[in-house]
Every structure is written in structure tokens, then in C-alpha cells.
């Protein structure tokens, strides 16, 4: 590969101490995506191949570089309305399930208990890659 490469096991700050580089590698998010479940649009992403709209408030998100196992960790949030103001900020509970190495499913539920589309939906995954 023609890209520059630095190999190091440790990063050392002049005063703040040292950090093993595997902390950086292991601790970095391996996939993230922000999407609008109401309009079915992926706003931006990394290591993500597609988004499947399974129905109201229910989505499957597929990875490009699969994970090494299905025990990775996902964090998801959603907001029912797309505007960015705090007013009209109808927060939405997001739940992840059906973890597979190549995809995960996400459902978004309003405070009233009904499944709703999250206009601003976010998903970040940490874990080991295949």
C-alpha cells in the first residue's frame, strides 16, 4: 500500500504520560451512521453499506467490514423530530437487537410507548473487526 505508515506500540506525551497504541485501536469506534428513519436517508456514515427500512421505527444496518464476533457493543440514540431546537424535542428511545457480525437491528420508540421513526437516528459500534 502506498500510504504512509508509522508502527509504534506506545504514544508518549511530554508531560501527561504514555498510552499503548492498542488502546487507540481497540477503543476507536469501528462503525457509525447517522440516518433519518422518516425519510429513509443516510446522512453520513463510516463502515456501513446499507440501511434497511423494515417498517415504522424498525431498521437493519449493515457493515462493510464485518465484525469478528457478534459480541460487539452498540450505542444508539434517536430523536423523533428532525429540527435541531431543544423545543419540540420529543426524545425517542432506541434499542438494538439481533446482533450479527454483518448487521444489527434497531428499533425506536417514543415516550408514549409507540414505535416511531427517528428523524435523527445515530448508531455507533465498538468492537473487534473480522
Amino acid at each position: 500500500m502506498a500510504l504512509g505508515e508509522i508502527k509504534a506500540d506506545t504514544l508518549t506525551h511530554s508531560t501527561a504520560g504514555s498510552l499503548a497504541t492498542n488502546f487507540v485501536v481497540e477503543g476507536s469506534a469501528k462503525s457509525w451512521v447517522r440516518f433519518n428513519g422518516g425519510t429513509s436517508v443516510v446522512n453520513d456514515s463510516f463502515n456501513h453499506s446499507s440501511f434497511v427500512d423494515n417498517g415504522t421505527g424498525n431498521y437493519a444496518l449493515h457493515y462493510t467490514n464485518a465484525f469478528g464476533n457478534a459480541l460487539y457493543c452498540g450505542q444508539a440514540t434517536a430523536k423523533e423530530v428532525a429540527d435541531t431546537s431543544a423545543v419540540n424535542n420529543n426524545g425517542t428511545f432506541a434499542m438494538l437487537y439481533s446482533y450479527e457480525t454483518g448487521r444489527i437491528q434497531m428499533t425506536t420508540v417514543s415516550p408514549d410507548g409507540n414505535v416511531r421513526d427517528g428523524q435523527t437516528s445515530n448508531l455507533t459500534i465498538n468492537g473487534d473487526l473480522a
Partner: protein, 159 residues
Amino acid sequence: MTVTPEFQGTHLFDRLCWAKENLEGHQSDYRVVYEDSVDECAKILVPDPNWMACALQGGILPPVQVYWELAKDEAQPDFKKHTRGYLLHNTKPIEAMTEEQAIEYLIMKDCPQSVWRNYDSGNKPKMVICRKEQLPATREWRNAWKISEELATDKIEAA
């Protein structure tokens, strides 16, 4: 024009890092509507813009057969973790695709095989590729959406 480095043998994650830095995302107008259960509504696959940029660029993504091999491994009852992840990184990347070819690749990667292997074998197709404008304008009754019965498989013509 951005030239893709020689990536065979480079970890796929590193290739995606390069693509994120060097390629503009491409929002596709194509959507794939499919039904994989008679009890559920139609599902809609939306291509990721950054993935689509990789597909159009070429030299980044592995052949789709690599994903099938990994899926076979994961389907084993004693599966714990992938031991053939190297297939993603060491298999020769595929060349640039057209947007239509990329959609076909994505169908074979992210839709269930039971859908795309015989999508036109029933009374109506289990899968339809369309443009997003052809989908309903609002999400009213979203959980009742189905592929139209009028799309009989014996009336499908090549575009």
C-alpha cells in the same frame, strides 16, 4: 480524478478510512423493495452513500462472494468468531462498478438469499428495484406496505 492505491492485502478498514478521506459520498436514487416474510410489510434497502462511492470508485470493496463465505461460517451452530476475516482483506478488490451493478452487488450482500435467488418465482416478485420517487410520498400505513399484486412475474420485462 482520484486514483485508488493498490489495496490488495490492505485491511478493509484501512481502505474505508482512505475512501472516507478521499471520496465524496454518492446518494443513490435507487431503492430495493423486498418481502422476506408473508407476515411482514415490504422492506426497503437504502444504499449507503459512502459505500456507493467505494463501489463506483473501484479497487476498494472485496467480491461479494467473500461475504457469503463469512455468512456460511456464522451460520455454523458452533460459531464463536470469524477465523477467515482475511478473505475481506486479502481477496483482490473488485473493479469500479456502475451504479446499477453496485445495486446488484448490494442486493446479494445485504438482502436475504431466499429473496434474491428466486425473486421472480412466485405469483408476484419478492423484490423490486425502483427509484425513491416511486415509493409512497408519506409513511402513512408504512407497516402495511406490500409489493403490488399487479406486478405479476410473467409480465416483467427487461428495462
